[in-house]
């Protein structure tokens, strides 16, 4: 059979067994802190935890697949900040026209870490939270449009299959896909988009009709699955949520808050290491996962 194309990875790991709600709170809090914090030390500690979580959920390979695409952004970040920002701090490498100085390099590392952390947080959400659970939780929070998100997830394999079949059809009509430059190849892909778009529009009309015929939109719905949160789940959520005010308070006090472009160097202090460790500690309960 054709290989399955579906973002969610149906695996039996402690992370997958954990209720979706603590996982979603984890991702949210983790994401917010990774945007806030700029200190490379803190960000590195968070990355170690994030990768441990991914490993615990046995979705490392899939996550690396996502990270592959960030390499280009990271490369661009480095290039851009080294060329276009003024020299700050000691010179690391003198290439004549361009002097690579410490400030922009540290800044690029910090930005790249943030980016990678956001992607990993997104990976935890995509690969370990069942889309049906996501729909259920978000629709209860009042996000009506989330129905669409769940259906998009459901349709993902269909659209992927459509896209492959359309490529075949176009090749059979003489479109060369793997010939010539990158631009030419990209151009050749254009005829795939039109039928794909038209198919998707027809499908979404059909789905809307089918949903209406099954009573969607009649009024108040009941909820079939609504598993009670365990005490452990609640404690986890509290811990993840507390990480936010703690992180913000520390940030205001200067921990994790570094402006490398202003020439601040990379320093590791005992106090800084302690604060970073405490911040990580708030998130570690996720490694416990859910019940057998």
């Amino acid at each position: 059979m054709m290989p399955m194309l579906f973002p969610y990875q149906d695996k039996d790991t402690p992370l997958h067994r954990l209720d979706a709600r603590p996982k979603m709170v984890f991702v949210l809090a983790f994401f917010l802190l990774s945007i806030l914090i700029s200190d490379i030390l803190y960000l590195s500690a968070m990355l170690v935890l994030a990768l441990t979580v991914v490993a615990r959920g046995r979705v490392a390979r899939e996550t690396l697949g996502l990270l592959k695409y960030t390499i280009y952004v990271v490369a661009f970040l480095f290039l851009f900040s080294i060329i276009f920002t003024p020299s700050v701090g000691p010179v690391l490498l003198d290439l004549g026209i361009v002097k690579i100085t410490e400030g922009p390099v540290l800044f690029s590392i910090s930005m790249s870490l943030r980016l990678v952390l956001s992607v990993v947080a997104f990976a935890v959400l995509t690969f370990t939270v069942h889309p049906d659970d996501l729909l259920r939780i978000l629709s209860r929070l009042g996000f009506k449009s989330m129905t669409g998100v769940s259906i998009a997830t459901r349709m993902y394999p269909t659209i992927a299959a459509d896209s492959a079949a359309i490529s075949d059809a176009m090749k059979a009509r003489g479109v060369e896909f793997d010939d010539g430059s990158f631009v030419r190849r990209a151009r050749a892909r254009a005829p795939v988009m039109m039928p794909l778009l038209m198919n998707s529009m027809e499908r979404s009309m059909n789905i809307a009709e089918a949903m209406e015929a099954r009573g969607f939109g009649a009024g108040k719905r009941s909820r079939y699955k609504d598993p009670a949160l365990r005490t452990a789940d609640r404690l986890m959520m509290i811990s993840f949520l507390l990480a936010i005010p703690f992180g913000v308070a520390m940030f205001i006090m200067g921990y994790g808050n570094v402006n490398y472009l202003a020439g601040e160097p990379l320093v590791i202090t005992a106090a800084g290491a302690t604060v970073a460790a405490v911040e990580i500690l708030f998130f570690t309960p996720i490694l416990l996962g859910g019940r057998q």
Binding site: M1, M2, P3, M4, F6, Y8, D10, H130, P131, D132, S150, I151, T153, R154, M155, Y156, P157, T158, D162, A165, I166, D168, A169, K171, A172, R173, G174, V175, E176, F177, D178, D179, P191, M194, P195, M198, N199, E202, R203, N206, I207, A208, E209, A210, M211, E212, A213, R214, G215, F216, G217, A218, G219, K220, R221, S222, R223, Y224, K225, D226
Partner: protein, 485 residues
């Protein structure tokens, strides 16, 4: 009782009504079959029974429809859902959730039933449908037949009094379709649920139906028992007698050959040292159960997939170095879904797209386009938007976009899927004409009757290799599926 009184409907923006002054009654436990050519108004008629017409599709309404006393115009379709359930053509486009249990719960949640009730109904109906081992399964991983069963179970769990089905088996192969229709019959006789069915696999349905409506141009022109309506169906070629085809090995040159093909998806071996020789002007049919790798084999023959080992030769030339696009002048390929071929504003532009890709000199275009449209009887649609055409016409339009390149060999993947008898007969006569003009055809199909009537040679793909299937064996398969009429 569904009561339709002088009902008419015109889609907004259209001049002619799709339903024209229709009056009829449907009793609660009837098995009603609705037949007619495409465009006769069958789909619109059944959508009027649950209020999708006029609520979902805007338009001009005349007369009225009441279902168990409720006027569909005043009752929104979502409310109607607990009385009239509906199953649609494509299983892909009616399943909302990602697993079976949640899918079954979806409609019940919409009815705002309490959790215990939902649980009870899921258990009851999944057992009835034999879906209990599937509850946790991922819907995208189910087969078409399983998906369609889930769609039916999900609708039935809402305990409607009638179920309306719009060509529910058109995307299924003969075996799954027969099973599905048997199941509908059981539902009707065991549970007394009214079945209102639009279907093109008429042979099987006719033995189950209490009553048949024959539609033409938005009107019901015959209403009676299957026997009473039969002469009209025959006259309109909706059913036809079985004609045994002529088989035999081709004597011409080998135009397409495969040697020792081996292929696997990840670790699952699909083809194991497969050999194939197709001679000039043969019509070779490849049959085999679901997942046996028939489509995979077809894609090897024009380079859409490449074998791990072995070679394919087209017109004596090894194709391992040639792209599919460069082979398109010699070997045409029509995949399962004709929609994937259609995107231009007019059919003519669609054909021009292919000619441009194949670098055919513009001086030849007009002649080639005329020839193709005439061959496929599509001249009157030259300036139509191909996606506005009916299912059978779309199939021919997609075929046109391939034939305009004048290939010598044609590969067809399930060419009769979703077609009624009338459209199948047209396809068969097109293939026959093409053959007279020198075309060699290889098709992959589940349609045993089509194979028995029109293929010159039948091969079965099993265990990664091909074996010849004698006509007597094909005839047995036709009988099992009950499609011989």
């Amino acid at each position: 009782m569904i009561c339709m009184e002088r009902f008419s409907f015109t889609y907004s923006g259209k001049d002619a009504p799709v339903l024209d002054d229709v009056s009829l009654e449907v009793r609660e436990n009837e098995f009603l079959l609705i037949v007619g050519a495409s465009g006769s108004g069958k789909s619109t008629l059944i959508r009027s029974f649950n209020g999708l017409i006029p609520h979902f599709y805007g338009g001009e309404v005349g007369g009225r429809v009441t279902v168990d006393g409720l006027d569909t115009r005043r009752t929104p379709p979502a409310k109607m859902a607990s009385i009239v359930g509906m199953v649609f053509q494509d299983p892909e486009n009616q399943l909302v959730m990602t697993n079976v249990e949640n899918e079954m719960a979806f409609g019940l949640e919409n009815l705002a039933l309490p959790r215990e009730e939902i649980q009870g109904r899921i258990t009851e109906y999944s057992e009835y449908f034999g879906l209990d081992p599937f509850l946790e399964r991922f819907i995208p991983q189910l087969s078409g037949g399983e998906k369609q069963k889930v769609a039916l179970a999900s609708v039935l769990a809402m305990r409607p009094r009638y179920i309306v089905l719009d060509e529910p088996t058109s995307q299924l192969d003969d075996e799954s379709a027969s099973m599905y229709l048997d199941f509908l019959h059981r539902l009707n006789s065991d549970q007394g649920i009214g079945i209102i069915l639009v279907e093109h696999r008429l042979e099987r349905c006719l033995s189950y139906a209490d009553r048949v409506l024959f539609m033409e141009s938005g009107r019901v022109i015959a209403d009676g028992t299957p026997d009473e309506v039969m002469p009209l169906m025959r006259k309109n070629r909706l059913v036809a007698d079985f004609h045994r085809g002529v088989q035999g090995n081709g004597l011409g040159d080998v135009v397409l050959s495969a040697r020792g093909l081996t292929f696997a998806y990840e670790r699952d071996a699909v083809l194991r040292g497969l050999n194939l020789n197709v001679r000039d002007r043969e019509v070779v049919a490849i049959i085999g159960h679901n997942g046996s790798g028939k489509s995979t084999l077809l894609k090897q023959l024009n380079g859409l997939l490449r074998p791990a080992e072995g070679t394919v030769a087209v017109l004596g030339r090894n194709i391992s170095e040639a792209t599919t696009a460069s082979l398109a002048r010699d070997i045409g390929y029509l995949g399962q879904n004709p929609n994937n071929y259609l995107f231009e504003d007019t059919l003519e532009m669609e054909l021009q797209f292919t000619l441009r890709n194949l670098k055919v000199p513009e001086a030849e275009w007009a002649e080639r386009i005329d020839w193709t449209l005439r061959m496929l009887d599509l001249e009157r649609y030259r300036r139509s938007f191909p996606r506005d055409l009916s299912c059978g016409e779309r199939e021919r339009a997609a075929l046109a976009s391939i034939l305009v390149g004048r290939p010598r060999i044609l590969l067809l993947d399930e060419p009769t899927r979703g077609l009624d008898h009338w459209n199948k007969a047209r396809l068969a006569s097109i293939l026959a004409t093409l053959r007279e003009q020198g075309m060699t055809t290889v098709m992959v199909t589940h349609d045993y009757r089509f194979v028995a009537e029109h293929a010159t040679r039948v091969l079965s793909l099993d265990g990664g290799a091909l074996t010849e299937v004698p006509l007597t064996k094909v005839m047995e398969l036709v009988k099992v599926c009950g499609t011989e009429a």
